[in-house]
Symmetry: C2
DNA sequence: ACCTGAACACCGTTCAAGT
DNA sequence: ACCTGAACACCGTTCAAGT
């Protein structure tokens, strides 16, 4: 009806941006390329997104949502010990980062504060890990243990993606070994038994 | 003597680049700003560096060298157990990353392969950790344990720098707790005693 | 209401011209 | 031998003009 019916909308832009970033890397990404891929000119994008930073923030929110979904799916299924559940989550986390390395790095490794997704989404990310960690190490150390395990998983994946593990070896099994070692370490409370009242 | 005596050299450029990146962030860094800070025009820089990527690679090499030096200094001194030594190294590593967050992130968290320093320097980085890890967990698991502990340290520091630990708390003591837990976990071999031949 | 061309200030990089 | 101005292709962003 209107002289110029919308050719793109917010979701199309965010999804195509994610695809382009994943396909060609963040360094090659520009609004001009994105517009071309959408069959439109760069200035038109500003009718739907406020800025490049806002667009990347939306991409990051999408990434966090998908990672949370993958983690939730991974811990489902009966007949698993808490440790097995946590290992499955870690495996799914790493698989996600390997499948979408550019998007993962943009969401979690970028230092620019402008690109961070809503803190609310970060909370929801941590929730599945939170409950299991608490079951494993008790309430007192659960936040610290949660952060330690997240740090291990994130750090391992990022060092892999940044090509910092130069000496080869089976990184998949090294990863699982490291997660299991970390869990064992947290299960052994450093505080002496006399602390218990 | 010559009509245009050199006003800048390679080291001046690399050092000033590092200062600018640390002071204003990588996003604000450009060759034009760098040239201005050096009292020169941007094209002149190309007499001393091949490209912006090569310059950033040199900055990263410098960062790695300084981190290695900080780690070596931290483990010195007599009368320390291997665990204490490793904890001291971890503390120094984190302090370095907090002191030069932009340079650290550029050297270790950037996914662009163009910016990676020589693999040789990465080897030298890992050496101080290597020997201590071997003393702690034995030769068989030493590479895996090394990678796990590095991943934990790197991941913790990067999540801090990226502002991902939203719920506050004493992150310094959480960090040490996590490192100690990780060490404990690796010290408890998962393989059963019957493996020993 | 949405899209576009033209424009602005800014990039990295090249190169002929100056001294 | 080193530095510079001018130029090129490319950015992100704004805005008046078209339909």
């Amino acid at each position: 009806m209107s002289p110029h019916p919308a050719q793109v909308d917010h979701d199309m832009i965010v999804n195509k941006a994610r695809d382009l970033i994943e396909a060609e890397g963040l360094g090659e990404f520009s609004l001009a390329r994105l517009a071309t891929a959408l069959g439109v000119k760069a200035p038109s994008l500003y009718k739907h997104v406020a800025s490049k930073a806002a667009l990347l923030r939306a991409v990051n929110t999408l990434t966090v949502e998908q990672l949370v979904a993958a983690m939730r799916a991974a811990q489902e299924g009966a007949g698993k010990t808490p440790v097995q559940r946590l290992v499955e989550i870690a495996r799914a986390y790493r698989l996600f980062a390997h499948t979408y390395p550019a998007a993962y790095a943009l969401a979690f490794a970028d230092v620019e504060p402008e690109l961070r997704p809503d803190p609310q989404y970060l909370e929801s990310l941590v929730l599945p890990l939170q409950a299991i960690t608490e079951a494993l190490v008790g309430q007192e150390h659960s936040l610290a243990a949660l952060r330690g395990i997240w740090a291990l998983i994130h750090g391992f994946v990022m060092l892999e993606l940044a090509g910092q593990f130069q000496r080869g070896g089976d990184l998949s099994s090294t990863f699982i070994q490291a997660v299991e070692a970390c869990i064992r370490g947290w299960q052994i409370s450093r505080t002496s038994p006399s602390d218990v009242t």
